[in-house]
């Protein structure tokens, strides 16, 4: 069976129904292992103390926030080029996940910033560009929720997602282009 066969929606749904329980178990297991190692095994930093453990949540959240937009951009190509309903669904369900991880990234970053930088928030290039991405996620979710025709909403969201993808390299390189507070990463 070739990979392209999974483009058939009913076959894809059948596969998802079989695989999803295992993925849920794997997610819970790896989350458990990661959190255990974070709190009980990883040593405190010599300078930051226990707050370094926030980084174990912050950095993956930031990456996932950006990955979700990248995934939505690929799905948007699928929507616009092949008009594939699975691409619509992928983009639609990735948006809240990406928004949640971007939110986590912003919140954990600001909780870490208070003891380390002495402030919850600065208008630094990295922080601002991630906040813009969060706003665009919310705009996309608002778009999905305010248009009743899902195919039409999917195509509009796809165009907006591709335009918003301009922000991804800005986020990545913001710490190199502007010398502000956020550490290069």
């Amino acid at each position: 069976m070739a990979l392209i066969d999974f483009a058939n929606p009913s076959r894809f749904v059948a596969l998802v129904e079989r695989v999803l329980p295992w993925l849920v178990v794997a997610t819970l297991f790896t989350f458990g292992v990661g959190l255990y190692q974070t709190f009980f095994i990883a040593p405190d930093d010599y300078q930051q103390g226990a707050t370094v453990k926030i980084m174990f949540i912050h950095v993956p959240s930031a990456w996932l926030g950006m990955f979700c937009w990248g995934l939505m951009s690929l799905a948007s190509l699928g929507t616009l080029v092949w008009r594939h309903p699975l691409a619509d669904v992928a983009a639609k369900s990735a948006a809240p996940i990406g928004a949640a991880f971007t939110f986590l990234c912003l919140v954990t970053g600001s909780l870490w910033g208070r003891p380390m930088w002495g402030t919850y928030w600065v208008w630094d290039a990295r922080l601002t560009s991630v906040l813009v991405m969060f706003l665009m996620y919310l705009g996309l979710i608002a778009l999905w929720r305010s248009v009743d025709d899902p195919a039409r909403a999917g195509r509009a969201a796809a165009i907006l997602t591709l335009v918003g993808a301009v922000n991804l390299p800005i986020i990545k390189f913001s710490v190199d282009w502007w010398n502000t507070l956020h550490q290069p990463a």
Binding site: L80, T128, V132, L135, M136, L138, G139, A142, L143, S146, V147, R152, A153, R155, A156, I159, L160, L162, V163, G164, V166, I170
Partner: protein, 222 residues
């Protein structure tokens, strides 16, 4: 080329006639800029410092005002279908429409900004800097806005959704517009650096905006 000129002239005529939105944006700009000193208080030193930011926020909001009608009106009277079927590339037609939209709504904002700058106690240098940055920056707002205008036709709804979608995309323009205007007055960055980035943003939106808007109009026409 004739077709593009015809679209351009037609849009200019419609915008300047009764029912067109040409001067509405200027009045809105005036209202916003006059409201802010009431909220902030008539502290002239403070107004002088944040004046460029006030003018830029006012111009940004005013330039969004008439946008959702840009393609919606054409959609309602059927001329959008003619444009879509026509032989001229849709992207170029959109640039022609955006140019006439900027000339009738964006350029007036640039022209009245010196008067409003006087209200905000700006020095002549600052007024010149704000005018120059608005002149370079407002076309970017229009070209980003056409994406929202095209999405409005595609989704068959305007209202509050469009500012929510378009405003995040305009943030870079606002950042570099205001920082260029401030750099001319207080420094420490040389004026030309943010101004060059602002120009780059305008040129980039000149490409991205019409292409995205054309895609939205084509997808919406089915």
């Amino acid at each position: 080329m004739d077709a593009l000129a015809a679209v351009f002239i037609r849009d200019m005529r419609i915008a300047t006639r009764i029912g067109g939105g040409a001067l509405m944006g200027v009045l809105f700009f005036l209202a916003v800029v006059i409201l802010l000193p009431f909220a902030i208080g008539p502290d002239l030193a403070l107004l002088r410092r944040i004046g460029p930011a006030i003018l830029w926020i006012g111009a940004l909001l005013a330039s969004l005002l008439a946008l959702d009608r840009l393609f919606a009106a054409d959609h309602e009277d059927g001329s959008l279908d003619l444009i879509l079927l026509g032989r001229s590339p849709l992207e170029l037609v959109i640039i022609a429409k955006a140019l006439s939209h900027w000339l009738t709504t964006g350029l007036p904002l640039v022209l009245v900004s010196p008067v409003l700058g006087l209200f905000l106690n700006l020095e002549p240098v600052a007024i010149g800097a704000v005018m120059l940055t608005l002149l370079i920056g407002t076309p970017a707002l229009t070209f980003i806005g056409v994406i929202g205008a095209a999405l409005a036709v595609m989704l068959r709804r305007g209202g509050l959704l469009l500012p929510v979608l378009v405003l995040p995309l305009t943030i870079p323009v606002l950042i570099f517009g205001v920082s260029a205007a401030n750099a001319a007055v207080v420094g420490p960055v040389p004026f030309a650096t943010p101004l060059a980035i602002l120009g780059a943003l305008t040129l980039m939106s000149l490409v991205v905006g019409p292409v995205a808007a054309a895609a939205a109009l084509r997808q919406g026409s089915e």
